[in-house]
């Protein structure tokens, strides 16, 4: 420690006392973002509100978590704690309470704190605390987003297995006046915060979807207007020749783009197909809504969007990735618990549905046509079947769709939690579809995707519904498993990993760490899968 400074003034000093009262402490530094702006809007009001927050929220929270408020500055405070866990807990409590307090106010009146937490050897005096440990805490606070808690690597190491929340690694950061880079983590404090994140993303998605629908509708109109003269009875003839009864179960609904999927690259042949009636397989009913989706793309002559438009892609949710403790001590196969870092990726919001699967089957790229309701998860698929679907989807959409790795699956299933289930340590009915998990007897099994609750990442059926294949080869435990979130594979593996429980497995299989194995090429009626997308 080259220099000991007062954090705010930069004054060198504080040597007076004889035995320097040094100790290791968790330092919490907080300050209000945009304080001067708030003061400009309403000086007295802001001052009063800040004082009230300090008196009603910050001071009691610190005391409650066995900490000590060292000092308050105009727009911030510094507190020390013996325990890193308590320090972070206290920070989360403060942030969550502030959300509640701000909720009733217009956005420009919000008082939002940024909080940094660091572990360091510091000098403690009655009314202040010194040391570069304090400086780092204030720097962390400085780079934190309003409403967020940023912690240093030292704190993270202490709390990672003890505090039930997610942590996002922000990598090594250089902070002002500190030579060594500091490892920074963002605390994903609660599911609500994640939910918010998701909503923002959903908003964008819905907007894009709306735009796409508008396009399709416009195309449909254009097509109908241009075709009315030629084929007057096309739209009003849903009855198809009896010859295609074989395909009836698959084609029941507005279902998948049956035939036109393979010849999609060019529009011309597709149109020709619709005109001559004797063509046995594509029912006119299906051909009609499909063509328009291809036609608006035609003028741009870009093959990629056109192909994408012809396939119903599974709904995906982007995940930021991060570090988490994978595994548990409940079963030998789930040991040892290790820290795994997952890169950003997108995960299917639901398991792949019968309708989505049958688009692949219709394109002759998947092995069989699935029966069951369109919105039920596809089941009775082997790992190889699942792999075929992912390969087909990647090819038709030109996007890197694939099966998730086991680490990605668990990261996604946990949704930032470290508990037994993604909703806590105790089982609760109505969260996932498993055997004897609900007092209501469900006769139709498996129930349609997304019938129950989403986890904090917004993913449905992570733990129930259907068992879900992942990319990894089966290994009886995690000894020697990669820590970078990639799939653990060898050349030939006779069995692969299945995750999640199913509607025929009891609640203990709904645990986020639960894992099982099954023969790579064998189908079983409860086995399904979801897809992942590399970002």
């Amino acid at each position: 420690m080259a220099q000991i400074r007062d954090i705010k003034t930069g004054r060198v000093g504080a040597p007076p006392r004889e035995p320097m009262p040094r100790r290791l402490a968790a330092i919490v530094a907080g300050d209000i973002s945009g304080y001067s702006r708030l003061m400009q809007i309403d000086e007295e009001g802001t001052h009063n509100r800040v004082k009230r927050i300090e008196r009603d929220l910050i001071e009691p929270s610190i005391v409650e978590h066995q900490g000590r408020l060292v000092k308050t500055t105009g727009d911030g405070f510094i507190a020390i704690f013996d325990s890193p866990v308590e320090a972070v807990r206290c920070s989360i409590v403060i942030q969550q309470n502030l959300i509640g307090r701000n909720a009733a106010l217009p956005k420009h009146h919000w008082i939002e704190y940024r909080i940094g937490v660091n572990l360091g050897d510091v000098i403690i005096e009655a009314d202040d605390v010194y040391g570069d440990g304090v400086n780092i805490a204030t720097r962390l606070e400085g780079i934190a987003q309003p409403g967020e808690v940023y912690i240093s690597g030292g704190i993270y190491e202490q709390i990672k297995h003890k505090l039930v929340c997610g942590y996002e690694s922000l990598g090594d950061r250089h902070v002002k006046n500190i030579t060594d880079p500091v490892r920074v983590y963002r605390v994903l404090s609660d599911p609500a915060a994640l939910q918010q994140n998701r909503k923002r993303r959903e908003g964008v998605l819905i907007f894009l979807l709306g735009l796409a629908l508008l396009f399709i509708a416009g195309g449909a109109l254009w097509y109908m207007l241009s075709q009315t003269g030629k084929l007057p009875n096309l739209a009003s003839a849903p009855v198809s020749p009896p010859a295609e009864v074989q395909q009836a179960p698959a084609a029941k609904q507005p279902a998948p783009p049956v035939q036109p999927a393979p010849p999609a690259p060019t529009v011309a042949p597709t149109q020709q197909q619709a005109a001559p009636q004797p063509e046995p397989s594509p029912a006119p009913k299906q051909a009609a809504p499909l063509l328009p989706s291809a036609s608006p793309a035609a003028p741009t002559a870009q093959p990629a969007p056109q192909a994408a438009a012809s396939v119903r892609e599974p709904e995906m949710i982007s995940l930021r990735g991060g570090s988490f403790a994978m595994g548990s001590n409940e079963d030998v196969s789930e040991k040892p618990i290790r820290q795994v870092t997952v890169k950003p990726f997108a995960m299917g919001k639901f398991p792949v549905s019968v309708q989505e699967w049958n688009a692949c089957a219709a394109a002759k790229a998947c092995g069989f046509t699935a029966t069951g309701k369109d919105d039920a998860p596809v089941a009775n698929v082997s790992w190889s079947d699942a792999k075929q679907y992912a390969a087909w989807l990647a090819e038709t959409t030109r996007k890197p769709y694939r099966l998730p790795s086991e680490a990605e699956w668990e990261y996604a299933a946990r949704g930032g939690t470290q508990t037994r289930y993604w909703w806590g340590d105790q089982f609760q009915p109505g969260m996932v579809n498993c055997k004897n998990c609900s007092d209501i007897l469900i006769t139709d099994q498996p129930v349609k995707v997304g019938s129950l609750k989403p986890n904090p990442f917004g993913l449905f059926d992570m733990g129930g519904g259907v068992d879900q294949w992942v990319e990894d080869c089966w290994h009886k435990n995690y000894q020697g498993a990669p820590a970078d979130g990639s799939a653990w594979i060898e050349n030939e593996c006779p069995s692969r990993v299945i995750r999640s429980g199913s509607w025929r497995k009891d609640s203990s299989y709904a645990r986020t760490a639960n894992r099982g194995s099954y023969d790579t090429n064998v189908r079983y009626p409860t086995h399904g899968f979801r897809v992942a997308l590399s970002l």
Binding site: P238, V239, S240, P242, V245, A248, P249, K252, D331, V332, T371, G372, D467, K476, P494, R504, K505, Y509, G516, Y518, D519, T520, N521, V522, R523, Y524, P525, T526, H527
Partner: protein, 141 residues
């Protein structure tokens, strides 16, 4: 009318696979499923190779519908009776050998355990009547 016909046919076709599965395939009258090893009462140290024996029927890959053949399932410490109208469950105590395996490396925690073999058809349903082995008890040290 044609439309109605189509609906009925579609419904019938949807139900067909379930109806076909509802009862297992007929088993050979003298089919015999048994443990080659371990035998009832064996005391074992650590992991072991469990070997499955089958007489008068054949072992095949799950999904293959050759007559008079099926694939093995090993039930570990299972007490509830088998439901002949449902596929054999797949979980930590119902091990499947759908690739046509006739032996498997088994690792169990120390203590007494029961083992039982059940032959499943192409769709993992038990045969009719069920082809099951004697339920044996072993002790793992």
């Amino acid at each position: 009318m044609k439309f109605m016909q189509r609906i009925v046919l579609a419904a019938a076709l949807t139900c067909l696979p379930f109806a076909a599965c509802a009862q297992g395939k007929p088993a050979h009258k003298e089919a015999l499923l048994y443990f080659v090893w371990p035998q009832n009462g064996t005391i074992i140290k650590g992991g072991f190779w469990c070997r499955f024996g089958l007489r008068n029927m054949g072992v095949t890959h799950a999904g293959d519908t050759y007559p008079n053949s099926g694939h093995h399932h090993l039930l570990v410490d299972v007490n509830e009776p088998l439901n002949p109208n449902e596929p054999i469950p797949q979980d930590k105590s119902h091990l499947h050998f759908g690739a046509g395996q006739t032996e498997a490396r088994i690792e169990l925690p120390p203590g007494k355990h029961t083992l039982q073999l059940v032959l499943g058809d192409a769709d993992h349903f038990p045969f009719n009547p069920p082809v099951v082995s004697q339920k044996i008890t072993i002790t793992v040290k």
